[in-house]
């Protein structure tokens, strides 16, 4: 690669980084050149499934069926589903403590997720991991992570593995705005760049790492600007706009598959619920939360699909009804699943 190429890439990365949520691309009928109407309906289904899964998990938590804590991604569904819409089942993903949405978006079954939350043997982690470690290796989800930033270098390693083995899979690494201040983030981006690895770094910037706003924690306005320090494209998208997320995801995935190396997508969104079960929301205003509630990504996506004639009102009703049924069946399955036995306490520490 010549010097000019690098400069060009840097310049376009900087230009992209300057793009803000406000001037993101508006909708048009050609919004989804790469997705069929059927895929779009599935995407809507997944967003509803994520929403209802989390609301039901919260409800189960209140009723004492779920141990520990959980981090809900309500309001961030378009980001998870939008990125995963550009991925194949053979592509990989690393996720975060706020990982229910990523898991479902990548194709996991909610029945086995509920089973995990209830600490049961049929859970994806056989009841050993719970919400914070939810994973589904069969669909390429290598796991949520209890350590902020913990999954980012691992994603780079998976991408290295793909490249060495000449496999065509790419890796999407989700992380929050808070994670971009961990050393692991910076070290990982640098390695992905020098080795031109097929990774899509996805920073879901929901404005806060727990109580600390990005203004207070992060020296740059947009996390995407940090891409230029590692000579990779960085782009800001409106994370509540499914179309914008999908467009950026396909571009990054295609670049990665063609050997063009990593990209950083900053998906600006908002977590409308508290950080975890014990958040008193002291660090933000009610008005701020309400503003974002009005920008609900699912409602926006539905209106857009209706406008474009991709779905009808009765089809949306059918999707919602399907989701309700799926959730009810999943909870029944999870409730009936057996719990692990204490005799197996130390199983899975090492390979048998």
């Amino acid at each position: 690669m010549g010097v000019e190429d690098i400069e060009l890439r840097e310049r376009s990365a900087a230009a992209r980084a300057r793009r803000t949520v406000e001037d993101a691309v508006p909708m048009s009928p050609a919004t989804y050149p790469r997705l069929s109407n059927e895929s779009l309906r599935q995407a809507l289904h997944k967003m509803h499934l994520i929403r209802r899964f989390e609301e039901s998990a919260e409800d189960a938590y209140m009723r004492g069926l779920v141990h520990g804590t959980m981090h809900l991604s309500i309001g961030q569904e378009a980001s998870a589903v939008g990125i995963c819409a550009a991925l194949e089942p053979t592509d990989y993903m690393t996720s975060t403590h706020r990982g229910h949405g990523h898991c479902i978006a990548k194709g996991a079954q909610v029945s086995r997720m509920f089973a995990e939350f209830f600490g049961k043997e049929d859970g994806y982690c056989r009841g050993r991991g719970g919400s914070m470690h939810i994973a589904d290796v069969s669909t390429g989800n290598l796991g949520a992570n209890g350590i902020v930033g913990g999954g980012i270098p691992i994603a780079v390693g998976v991408a290295l593995s793909m490249k060495k083995q000449k496999r065509s899979s790419v890796v999407a690494s989700f992380f929050g705005d808070g994670a971009n201040n961990e050393g692991a983030f910076h070290e990982a981006l640098n390695m992905a760049s020098i080795w031109k690895l097929p990774v899509i770094f996805v920073c879901e910037n929901n404005g806060y790492g727990m109580s600390t706003s990005t203004e207070r924690s992060t020296a740059v306005k947009n996390v995407a600007e940090r891409a230029s320090a590692y000579s990779m494209p960085g782009i800001v998208v409106d994370g509540n706009d499914f179309a914008a997320v999908v467009a950026a995801a396909f571009e990054a995935v295609e670049r990665a598959k063609q050997g063009g190396g990593p990209s950083l997508i900053e998906s600006k969104t908002y977590r409308v619920r508290g950080h975890s079960r014990s958040d008193r929301n002291r660090y933000r205003t009610k008005e701020e939360i309400e503003t974002w509630l009005a920008r609900d990504p699912i409602g926006a996506f539905e209106r857009q699909l209706l406008r474009q004639g991709v779905v009808t009102v009765s089809e949306i009703d059918a999707i919602r009804a399907d989701v309700e049924r799926e959730i009810a069946d999943a909870i029944a399955f999870a409730t009936a699943s057996p719990a692990p036995t204490v005799e197996e306490l130390t199983r899975y520490v090492y390979s048998d």
């Binding site: 141990h67 009841g127 958040d279």
Partner: protein
């Protein structure tokens, strides 16, 4: 407060835990506080008394800390002295060390003790060794606090008991207060200490209540505390295991077994004298701790006894009850089974005393 101290000293055999709870008393009248409140009070006292003291950590300001230990301190002392850091454990630990090297007294709250792993480099390679490597030219008066332990359903990466890792490192002091009284007194002693001190606080203890004197007092670092005298067996325990061991001792007393319970309080320095003198009285030793059993603090305690003249007094093998050889599982039943609980302590001590081990 003085009555309370006297009551305790009645229970204390002359040769055990000498000088424990030596209260440098600007402290007055006790009242009930939770463990978390006791820590917060110590922080406030230190900040009030010494403007070099300041707090660093994730979400310790307006959020009040993940376990509400700093609470409203930011309102009282302002964000300059109650500093929220970015999520940058390694870097922030280094920042705290730099501040400590040059005249300030930082107190660093890790949100969970598990994240000490991210700051290992600065804690182990830097804080612990700087004074030594520079031939005594500097010191690192840094206090680090670590919410730790299992029992909250937080699973493998938020439930560990890693104190023994750090106790392996010369240059660090490692303490584990088990009561509100000790939480406050140890923290004030740590702040006054010229060297790095790591305080491991069990998450399940934060809400526990106990008598805490007002004002300033310190609990010397490195002195064990005799919690309950007994003639048949010594149970030496740390942190929450002190309470489980006391409950076990109570139950065993009903069967005629009198267990002596010692709260180790500090892993480094280790109060070897308190241990040997107790074993010489009881002739049996059980170590109870939450960290993984293998290569944990129990190994050091056992070896100390084996190397000491107390070895000849032993009437039974030394017994260790520690964490299972696995990460902490999420499932609540498995989680309980992964660390010693009162019934398992009762059963093990009973068997030991009856010669069934």
């Amino acid at each position: 407060m003085s009555t309370r101290t006297e009551e305790r000293s009645v229970l204390r055999p002359q040769d055990a835990c000498a000088a424990h709870r030596r209260i440098r008393s600007r402290a007055t009248g006790a009242r009930e506080l939770s463990y978390a409140q006791a820590i917060q009070e110590a922080l406030a006292i230190a900040m009030e008394a010494d403007e070099r003291v300041f707090l660093m950590g994730e979400d310790i300001g307006v959020y009040g800390g993940a376990f509400q230990v700093t609470g409203d301190l930011v309102q009282r002392f302002g964000p300059e002295r109650v500093m929220d850091t970015p999520i940058s454990e390694l870097g922030a630990a280094g920042v705290a060390i730099g501040a400590a090297l040059t005249g300030l007294r930082p107190i660093f709250e890790f949100q969970f003790s598990d994240f000490s792993a991210l700051a290992m480099e600065q804690i182990v390679n830097q804080a612990a060794k700087l004074r030594f490597m520079l031939g005594g030219a500097v010191s690192v008066p840094l206090v680090m606090r670590f919410p730790s332990g299992s029992g909250t359903g937080a699973a493998a990466q938020h439930s560990q008991s890693l104190e023994a890792w750090f106790a392996h490192v010369p240059g660090l002091k490692v303490v584990q207060p088990s009561t509100p009284y000790d939480a406050k007194g140890c923290l004030l002693a740590a702040i006054a200490d010229p060297d790095p001190v790591m305080i491991f606080e069990h998450k399940l203890l934060y809400k526990m209540k106990g008598d805490v004197p007002r004002g300033h007092y310190t609990v010397p670092l490195g002195e064990a505390r005799l919690c309950r005298p007994g003639r048949d067996v010594t149970i030496v325990a740390t942190s929450i295991m002190v309470h489980r061991s006391l409950a076990a001792a109570k139950e065993l007393a009903g069967e005629g077994i009198e267990a002596e319970v010692i709260d180790l309080r500090s892993l480094r320095p280790l109060d070897r004298d308190a241990l040997t003198s107790s074993v010489k009285r009881t002739h049996r030793l059980v170590c109870v701790y939450e960290g993984v059993k293998t290569l944990g603090i129990g190994a050091e305690i056992s070896a100390s006894i084996a190397e000491s003249d107390a070895f000849d007094y032993l009437d039974a093998p030394i017994l260790r009850l520690g964490g299972a050889e696995c990460p902490i599982p999420y499932n609540p039943e498995l989680e309980k089974a992964a660390v010693p609980q009162t019934p398992s302590i009762v059963a093990a001590v009973r068997d030991l005393v009856h010669g069934r081990r």
